[in-house]
């Protein structure tokens, strides 16, 4: 089996994988980082979003071997030790989650949206940018509020994650 070497949440990893292995399978099954979820098999739901070299990627859309040499950030690596990332804090404060299954992907996407679109996000922009993430519980109402608040909080000096 070929070996893939990459950095995950700041830690170097070398793993032997079946060439068919997807990045999300590498994270969940090989590295047991189960915070990244799988909600579909057609790259529609966004539960598996992680950052690869600072960009949001649906980790079910790339092979583990394609991630050779990259720097991957998952939900487990977003907080600064025990201090939550402002986007994580905003999701809690604004009740932006219920069952929690889509939440890691939502938060990773939200951080990426802020990086691309800035800290002052209107409702329409947030809704359009969340097009790639499905949630079945919240009706998105509070997710939209959480992303707007998290974006503002990221501006106010809070750090935006290790690899972000």
């Amino acid at each position: 089996m070929p070996t893939v070497t990459l950095k995950v949440n700041g830690k170097k990893q070398s793993v032997d994988v079946d060439p068919r292995t997807l990045l999300v399978q590498l994270l969940r099954e090989n590295l047991r980082l189960t915070g990244t979820h799988v909600g579909c098999d057609t790259s529609q739901c966004g539960a598996c979003v992680v950052h690869v070299d600072g960009q949001a990627v649906k980790s079910c859309t790339i092979f583990a071997l394609s991630a050779e040499g990259t720097d991957v950030l998952t939900i487990e690596g977003l907080a600064n030790g025990s201090r939550l990332h402002p986007m994580q804090e905003a999701f809690r404060e604004h009740h932006g989650l219920q069952c929690g299954y889509c939440t890691p992907g939502m938060i990773m996407s939200a951080v990426d949206i802020v990086k691309r679109k800035g800290n002052d996000l209107d409702e329409q922009t947030i809704r359009q940018e969340l097009e790639g993430n499905l949630c079945r519980c919240t009706g998105y109402h509070n997710i939209v509020k959480a992303v707007a608040a998290g974006a503002k909080a990221m501006k106010n000096g809070a750090r935006a994650g290790k690899a972000a």
Binding site: C45, C99, G100, L130
Partner: protein, 789 residues
């Protein structure tokens, strides 16, 4: 304790693990030595299984075993069952066809389980499954609800002639006939309630494990009710003895009904684990979920309402054909009957109602409860009739509703339910104010100037929650009473563990239940832990569905807390040298009435475990109490949703301009969580009305088999919602709560369709009202207008 007690919008305790990726879902669990199961599923809607050749597949790398229905039969594993017996109007029992966990002799829907491959890895299992050679004898099939009873239609089960499971009725046909004879106006509608796929974001999963040393089995499963899983799998399937069988439902990523049921896959995992002496793990992929999770709705209905000249409803007549799919799922029989026809009275004083329901088999995935379960279908029927009747009689739809509102409670409807309380006028009034109905005319003109059509639609709904009073549901055919249990364990240090039979899969029980305990015992929420979802910890419970966990689950906790308080007063009485009757308990302090002698809750808790502090021949040591609560009535959340839409007549695209929801859920424990439930419910309701549709071709091929074809509501499909509440305290439980989980999904679809039909001036708009559907309806409307001119 106001900061964390009842009524406070406390931020959720459970969120810490979910926002940091530390949730613990079934597929996150790895068992040492685990194998992976992959199901080979039927590509045909209906076929005989002539031969299953596994010889080549068995030799493939990593394959541990391949099992089929023949192995299941050899091991005498029982069929999956439907636990609610419904009789036809002639008294005959329902025709339940056999439902083996792996097909035996025949497959009956696309996705039916033909064989399971168990291998070291998922890829190996999939590779081997592709090498299994199945010789199918393809049979004619039918997926069409309306055609199922046609004598020419293919038979799904031999024991159900004309594919009929039951022909059930409720109400007084003669009284309805005479009401229709005296009517001045009759409104008639043909309605299809579209088939939906629940789509909890976490796909179903199961891990079976067997310990030969103790002859005990463990099942981790995505379940809303682990004890019901254990009971059914022990008592009916014969997989393990109940006392040697642990079911754990850890964090569960949404359910919406679809994770109530006992499915084939977890049955196979548990059975195979014992057979192979290795853990067997299965996780559904989304494509499988479309073919194997129980679907929802799928009714074809003709409904007629009789009114007098002034708009008073005289009678209601409904005939529904309900598609239950290829097999009867766990509770499927109850959904189009006792959860549907019993709510057809809506918020209105209707003297006579008669409803007939024919449940049918088709070559489709089984249909069972999905958020609202029967009540959205009932609400759709009655609220469409009201809106159309108002338009036909040239009355204001709100005024027609008001004219017929039930205003005195309790109110006995002609369809079993006895509504205990509500204030329909108040919810309607508040909703019309929040929706700015007064300004609608001006907004419509504004839209019109921009070439757009604007419409408004009401839904004044009522539902029955808090299922269910055992005596009532027992008499209606339910196999078990639907009470709930709770145990309160006070530790010597004064911290508290609450063991509940309710199960949280997004509802936030770890927070709301702790708020109740915090308020009652006067201790901080951090000292309270909610334990659920494990049959080895919680003795028994019925689980979470039907918006029951507040009204039934929390009431059980409240009853157990009553006992804790009584026992603690005895202990405090001894310590304070006073009679227990003189001890008052308030804000976490036990005080001798009229004195300043008091003890904190924690001091009494410690004393209860230090036996020499009181006479143990009079009071047992320890502080632990349990309660089983069987409700005396259903609860009846009600309210008014108003939807305002703007439609582009050139494209048929509907934009939701405003959504107003005013609900009466009784007392609110955590308004933030309640609002979240409303948002989610409305979103699913909008999904049904505007976007979602499970489509089979007439021969039973599933056309909407992935997120590429089945339109899930996305953030940019939905508006923000204006949510308000009116409170009438529920009289049937001590907390005064009613339940909020399903209201949105019940109220929303019909409000939206009422708004669209108002905007375009044409009533024939089927769900989902896609741009194409709406555009076509607009063209029909133009055509009719031209013909009339």
């Amino acid at each position: 304790m106001a900061a964390t007690g009842i009524g406070a919008a406390v931020r959720r305790t459970e969120d810490q693990r979910f926002i940091t990726g530390k949730g613990h879902y079934t597929d996150d669990i790895h068992r040492e030595g685990q194998t992976i199961a992959y199901f080979l599923r039927s590509p045909h809607p209906h076929a005989t299984l002539k031969r299953i050749d596994t010889a080549k597949a068995l030799k493939m790398p990593g394959v541990v075993a391949i099992l089929t229905g023949a192995d299941l039969a050899a091991d005498k594993i029982g069929n999956l069952i439907c636990g609610w017996a419904i009789s036809s109007k002639d008294g005959s029992p329902m025709n339940m066809g056999p439902h083996p966990a792996l097909a035996q002799g025949k497959v009956r829907h696309v996705g039916d389980q033909v064989a399971v491959v168990i291998a070291e890895t998922l890829n190996q299992a999939k590779d081997a499954a592709a090498a299994i050679n199945v010789d199918y004898g393809v049979l004619p099939a039918n997926a069409d609800t309306a055609k199922a009873r046609d004598p020419k239609t293919a038979q799904v089960h031999d024991n159900a002639p004309r594919n009929t499971i039951y022909e059930w009725s409720l109400g007084d046909a003669a009284a309805v006939d005479s009401a229709f004879k005296s009517a001045k106006h009759i409104t008639k509608l043909d309605i299809v309630n579209n088939r939906l796929i629940p789509n909890a974001m976490e796909p179903r999963a199961a891990i079976g494990d067997y310990d030969s040393g103790t002859d005990s089995s463990t099942l981790w499963v995505t379940s809303q009710n682990p004890h019901v899983h254990r009971l059914v799998m022990a008592a009916f399937l014969g997989l393990a003895a109940e006392n040697k069988f642990r079911v754990i439902a850890p964090d569960v990523g949404g359910g919406f009904g679809s994770k109530i049921f006992i499915y084939a896959e977890e049955t196979v995992c548990l059975w195979a684990a014992k057979k192979l002496k290795r853990p067997v793990r299965w996780t559904s992929d989304r494509s499988e979920a479309f073919q194997s999770d129980a679907h929802g709705r799928d009714h074809v209905t003709h409904a007629e309402m009789a009114l007098d000249a002034g708009g008073k409803i005289l009678g209601l007549r409904v005939h529904t054909v309900a598609n239950l799919g290829a097999y009867m799922s766990t509770f499927s029989s109850s959904v189009p009957t006792y959860l549907y026809a019993t709510l057809l009275s809506g918020q209105y004083n209707i003297p006579a109602i008669y409803c007939e329901v024919d449940a049918v088999y088709t070559n489709t995935v089984p249909v069972d409860a999905y958020r609202g379960a029967g009540r959205p279908e009932a609400c759709y029927v009655i609220e469409r009739l009201m809106e159309v009747a108002a338009r036909e009689m040239r009355m204001d739809p709100a005024e027609l509703r008001k004219k017929n509102f039930i205003r005195t409670f309790p109110h006995q409807t002609p369809v079993i339910m006895a509504y205990d309380i509500g204030d329909h006028e108040a919810t309607l009034k508040k909703a019309t104010e929040m929706a700015d109905i007064k300004g609608f005319g001006a907004r419509k003109q504004q839209s019109s100037r921009q070439g757009k059509l604007r419409g408004i639609g009401y839904s004044t709904y009522i539902e029955a929650c808090g299922i269910a009073p055992s005596a009532a549901v027992g008499s209606l055919g339910a196999g078990v009473g639907l009470w709930e249990s709770a145990e309160v364990r006070v530790n010597p240090t004064g911290s508290v563990e609450i063991l509940t039979g309710s199960h949280s899969h997004g509802q936030g029980h770890e927070t709301t239940f702790a708020q109740l305990v915090s308020e009652r015992l006067g201790i901080p929420m951090e000292q309270v832990t909610i334990v659920h979802g494990d049959t080895d910890k919680v003795q028994f419970g019925m689980g979470t569905y039907g918006s029951r966990s507040g009204a039934v689950g929390m009431t059980a906790i409240s009853k157990a807390l009553d006992k804790i308080e009584a026992k603690a007063k005895k202990v405090a009485g001894h310590l304070l040298e006073a009679s227990p009757g003189d001890i008052e308990f308030k804000n976490g302090k036990f005080t001798v009435a009229g004195t300043d002698k008091s003890l904190a809750f924690g001091e009494v808790a410690l004393a209860a475990y230090v036996g020499h502090k009181f006479p143990t021949n009079e009071i047992e040591p320890g502080l632990k109490e349990g309660a089983f609560y069987d409700p005396t009535n259903f609860t009846f959340p009600s309210g008014c949703h108003i939807c305002e839409v703007e439609i582009d007549p050139e494209t048929g695209h509907t934009k939701i301009a405003r959504w107003t929801a005013v609900d009466d859920f009784g007392i609110l424990i955590n308004p933030m969580i309640v609002e979240g439930q409303v948002h989610g419910g409305v979103a699913q309701g909008i999904g049904q009305a505007l976007l979602e549709n499970c489509v089979y071709d007439p021969d039973g091929q599933l056309l909407s088999g992935s997120y590429m074809d089945y339109t899930m509501p996305r953030a940019d499909d939905l508006p923000s919602f204006a949510v308000g509440t009116v409170v009438t305290k529920c009289p049937s439980n001590p907390l005064g709560v009613k339940g909020c989980g399903e209201a949105g999904a019940i109220a929303a679809p019909v409000a939206l369709i009422n708004a669209i039909t108002d905007a375009i001036g044409h009533e024939d708009v089927a769900m989902p009202a896609t741009a194409q559907t709406v555009w076509q309806a607009i063209q029909k409307s133009h055509k009719q207008r031209r013909a009339a001119e």
